[in-house]
């Protein structure tokens, strides 16, 4: 299996004629992702250098290609609309790579897509890869390897670092998922854990958290109450200064202060081993398998 994307993923690239969209389309095609089409309003009828047909609207793209997923590389100011358009056209998964989207736009878009049953990953995220099957996003494909470790992370390059160590040490991945670092995202740490819980292929889940929010604390609680997969964790930001506080309201809303120490403590209390440095993740996984 794997989660979210696999060999059956039929992908549309929204913003395919843009610089980033075009580059990553080539990368995804080269990796073996089934990119069935792209969308750029006003450029319908063209084909990209990779031979991918371009459509004017998502509706047309889905109708013509039978796509079931999309990935978004459009500019931030158009991205939330692109998410809604994809959902309205009926794809079940939207991976929003675009960064710099105002929170309000996503807050308004997410109920719209949820009503239509679409899963959104991101925004401001590296995407999703099920090694050897489908890569939907911007991560370097070659550092991945097929296997039974699920990886979910709030950051991009740190995920690559962890995956690199896993692969180097022989531990392949079922799916690696970067959920994005924005305050409001479509799929959070807990949603991703729920997906991995249902995935037969995944045996260990690696959680890569960071300071801020309290999803890690909630994840720890879920694990404490019985989570069906083994878990290893890493938390970035142990040395981060309290820095720019979110006023009183930020502290009130989470109930805690979202420090790395709190998150590490929560995981340890739930019996989860937390790596001190990224390389240690491979050791912990090795012990769990």
């Amino acid at each position: 299996m794997s989660i979210l994307v696999d060999k059956n993923t039929r992908l549309i690239v929204q913003g395919i004629t843009g610089r980033d969209g075009g580059f990553h389309t080539s990368q995804m095609v080269a990796y073996g992702t089934n990119v069935v089409g792209g969308v750029t309003p006003g450029k319908g009828g063209q084909k990209t250098d990779d031979g991918v047909p371009v459509f004017n609207t998502m509706e047309e793209a889905v109708r013509e290609t039978g796509a079931n997923a999309s990935v978004i590389y459009v500019p931030a100011s158009f991205a939330a609309d692109a998410v809604c358009e994809a959902s309205d056209a009926g794809v079940g998964l939207v991976v929003c790579i675009a960064e710099g989207i105002p929170v309000k736009d996503m807050v308004r878009a997410l109920p719209y897509v949820r009503e239509r049953g679409t899963i959104v990953v991101g925004p401001n995220c590296p995407g999703v890869i099920s090694p050897g099957r489908s890569k939907v996003g911007i991560m370097p494909g070659n550092i991945h390897k097929e296997g039974n470790v699920g990886v979910v992370s709030r950051s991009g390059t740190l995920t690559y670092e962890v995956v690199y160590h896993l692969t180097q040490n022989g531990f392949g991945q079922s799916t690696c998922l970067g959920i994005g670092g924005d305050p409001v995202i479509g799929t959070n740490l807990l949603d991703a854990m729920a997906l991995f819980a249902e995935d037969d292929e995944t045996e260990v889940v690696v959680l890569i958290g960071e300071i801020g929010g309290n999803d890690e604390e909630k994840a720890a609680e879920i694990i404490k109450n019985g989570y069906p997969k083994k878990v290893a964790a890493f938390i970035a930001g142990r040395t981060a200064p309290p820095g720019k506080r979110m006023g009183h309201a930020g502290a009130i809303v989470t109930g805690g202060t979202g420090t790395a120490a709190e998150k590490v403590a929560a995981f340890k209390a739930a019996g989860v081993e937390v790596a001190e440095i990224p390389a240690e993740i491979a050791e912990i996984v090795s012990n769990l398998l």
């Binding site: 911007i138 950051s155 960071e210 809303v253």
Partner: protein, 378 residues
Amino acid sequence: MKIHEVDARGIFAGAGLPVPPSILITQSAEARGAAEKLGCPVVVKSQVLVGGRGKAGGVKLASTPEEAAEKAEAILGMDIKGLTVEKVLIAKAVDISEEFYVGMVYDRVTRKPLMMISPAGGIDIEEVAKSTPEKILKVVIDPIAGIMPFQLRKMSAFLTADKAVAKQLAPVFNGLFKAFMDVDSSLAEINPLVVSPDGKVWAIDAKINIDDNSLYRHAALEEMRDDSSEDPGEVEARDSDLSFVKLDGKIGCIVNGAGLAMATMDMIKYFGSEPANFLDIGGSSSPEKVLAAMKIIVRDPKVKAILINIFGGITRCDDVANGLLRAKKDLGVDIPLVVRLTGTNAEEARVILEGTELVPATTMEEGVKKAIEIASAS
């Protein structure tokens, strides 16, 4: 982006909130006239972009125009948490019989705006949240439909049993929500929202942070930015589209990605040293960005070694290598550079850097250890 209280008051007043009148001054000589115009007593409030102004002595009551002038004189130029007070707000004072807290943020869990209110407002609200959380009511608000009538009833009832006061609260909640949404706020607070002895409700303080990502559509708000209240390095970084936070250690860091940047700092600490900064050069990084990053870091005299830690995905390692060489030459950098470049075009980068003074490292761990070694030796 943080904006000054005076600007936040303006936004709140525009959304229909009951904000007492006020006048902004930059010279103490203007204080007397302002106080006379408003009518005493007045509050003299320093305008700096940090919390805890009151505790630092930056907020004073004045019962006569003369006193207002004295207080303004004392506060202007004062240093509050490293920031110099350059502006002072003279605001009409309100007698207080009750203090509420009302604040808004986005809730990560429900992905919706969240309003938090408490009948125990004032400076100790965080303590209230910790020790008596039942005194805080959190209400998830539909981002498009707004606050439902039943929610307004519930919220008003949570703060007061006085119907005349409750009647004034619904417009406050609606106005705060409207202001929060209209200006793409990431945080909006009224603390305290007070009831005066005559039963009138007043928003006597105002705090608004703006979502940086939204500024492209808020030209008027962008003008409220006050760079003078920020670290110059951070301002410069922002102008170059970098994310930078100054710290106190010896090892400068240039990393792509916030998570990896934090993990790099953590590792420096883990192996016994301290990072000099947080610096994320972001995604598709041009040589110019690397140059700008280097410029900011070398200005810090404490820095004894700089660690470049790049895991190339979108970021191309050869771009980074070229930027480093240019920076070394243009800026005349003599601080040792330890360079770890993995991922996209790493091989090209290795070739570019071959034979230079730059210290290569193949893993993050090796890079961190080499940087610490060099910094300790110097």
